[in-house]
């Protein structure tokens, strides 16, 4: 299948997951057990099963997968609606982040049917049966579908995502031409949902030192900003075998961005700047 837009749902893939043992490389306390099934309410006609990753930090037990049978007639059209239906009518302890419910805040990013996406912009009708809902891949889990993003935001802080100016502050606003402003298109729209970084195999294996697609896209956003005066220092900081160059152009990032942005291309632009400044 030729994918032309990241919101296209893969249906024709031969394998739903890589043919490896489910416990390969998984630490003992991260192995996923089998949880219980919560049946649909009596009288429900249109029922769909959701297999959902659960982890309770206070139980002292391993994570597990529980099956919820959702009454589609009592529930809105998106995955987030299904999660709300479960929380409101079946199990109030189901925990997930959400805020805007319209793809703007980036809170409800999670792994849906094996692909990272926002729960609020994925339709239930596009899901497999049963649907599989996991937290963002390769994250330390605080509870259920809530990942600990501390490390990712620390990596974001490392690129100093604010305007660096050496000249004294001007009397009025710092002006940009429409062309200069246009260079930020495709970068400023990033909502930091970290779907891309969590879907990047290189970040899975080297996430402690590789910055990952989301942060590198932001790095490029400041490198191309006409008002910023720290381009050389920013490139110096990125010129590192791990921080930038662990990107092997796998491009899972571009495939999974819920905003249709292109982190892979942004990273290629940064690599090009590295070559160009060598003359």
């Amino acid at each position: 299948m030729i994918v032309t837009s990241s919101d296209q749902v893969s249906r024709s893939t031969l394998f739903k997951r890589f043919p490896i043992p489910k416990t390969l490389g998984v630490a003992a306390d991260s192995r996923i057990g089998q949880g219980k099934t919560w049946p649909a309410p009596v009288g429900a006609v249109r029922v769909k099963s959701f297999e959902i990753y659960r982890y309770d930090p206070e139980a002292g037990e391993n994570p597990r997968v529980e099956t919820f049978e959702v009454d589609l007639d009592g529930c809105g059209p998106t995955v987030l609606d299904a999660l709300f239906w479960i929380k409101n009518t079946v199990d109030p302890t189901l925990t997930f982040r959400r805020s805007c419910r319209e793809g703007i805040c980036g809170s409800c990013s999670m792994n849906i049917d094996g692909v990272n996406w926002l729960a609020c912009t994925r339709f239930i009708s596009d899901l497999a049966s049963p649907a599989r809902i996991y937290p963002l891949a390769n994250m330390r889990i605080i509870k259920d579908l809530v990942p600990d993003l501390t490390h990712l935001f620390a990596q974001y802080a490392m690129i100093e995502p604010w305007l660096h100016s050496k000249a004294p502050a001007p009397e009025s606003e710092r002006l940009q031409s429409p062309e200069e402003r246009g260079k930020l298109d495709g970068y400023y729209e990033c909502i930091l949902c970290f779907c891309c970084t969590s879907g990047c195999p290189s970040h899975w294996w080297n996430g402690d030192r590789f910055l990952g697609p989301a942060v590198l896209l932001q790095a490029n956003r400041w490198l191309v900003d006409s008002r910023d005066e720290a381009k050389e220092e920013r490139l110096d900081s990125l010129e590192d075998p791990f921080r930038l160059y662990r990107c092997h152009t796998i491009l899972n990032c571009t495939r999974t961005c819920p905003k249709g942005l292109n982190p892979g291309e942004a990273i290629a632009e940064v690599k090009k700047m590295m070559i160009e400044r060598q003359g």
């Binding site: 299948m1 030729i2 994918v3 032309t4 837009s5 990241s6 893969s10 893939t13 031969l14 394998f15 739903k16 997951r17 890589f18 490896i20 489910k22 416990t23 390969l24 490389g25 998984v26 630490a27 306390d29 991260s30 996923i32 990753y53 982890y55 930090p57 391993n62 994570p63 792994n111 049917d113 094996g114 692909v115 599989r132 996991y134 937290p135 963002l136 891949a137 390769n138 994250m139 330390r140 889990i141 605080i142 990942p147 600990d148 879907g199 195999p201 899975w204 092997h248 152009t249 796998i250 491009l251 899972n252 571009t254 495939r255 292109n262 892979g264 291309e265 290629a268 632009e269 090009k272």
Partner: protein, 134 residues
């Protein structure tokens, strides 16, 4: 926090165990695997050349192994791996110039390199068998 009991570390959510294989990630791992396989076949190439330089008896032994059905299957695999790695390498060179990053381009170039590898492998073997038959 003197009263706190030993905290259980937070579990790591699954990554490769659940993430859906996509053309992007599959061709990336294929590029690596074919690279490793080709290193192995390079050793066999050296053995073959050394045998040819040593003399008729040594060459006959190596030729016997290569001509067996196992040898032929491995040779076919090596040809396919070679072309996959070659086409993948060209794809990476284009990306290094900053081109071909639109999602459509990524998928078109990906499937094209797979198709090209199949065609080139078939063509190479057809040519080889044609020459061998003459």
């Amino acid at each position: 926090m003197s009263n706190s009991t030993a905290r259980r570390p937070r579990p790591l959510s699954p990554n490769i165990q659940i993430y859906r294989p996509q053309l992007t990630s599959v061709l990336s791992i294929v590029h690596r695997i074919t690279g490793v396989l080709l290193s192995g076949f390079a050793v066999w190439l050296v053995v073959w050349l050394s045998a040819a330089a040593t003399g008729p008896r040594a060459y006959a032994i190596v030729r016997g192994v290569t001509a067996s059905w196992i040898g032929q299957t491995l040779l076919l695999a090596a040809t396919f791996a070679f072309f996959l790695h070659l086409c993948g390498g060209i794809r990476h060179l284009v990306w290094d110039t900053g081109r071909g990053f639109k999602l459509r381009s990524i998928y078109v170039s990906g499937w094209s390199m797979v198709a090209a590898s199949v065609v080139l492998t078939a063509a190479t073997w057809a040519a080889g068998l044609f020459v061998a038959a003459r």
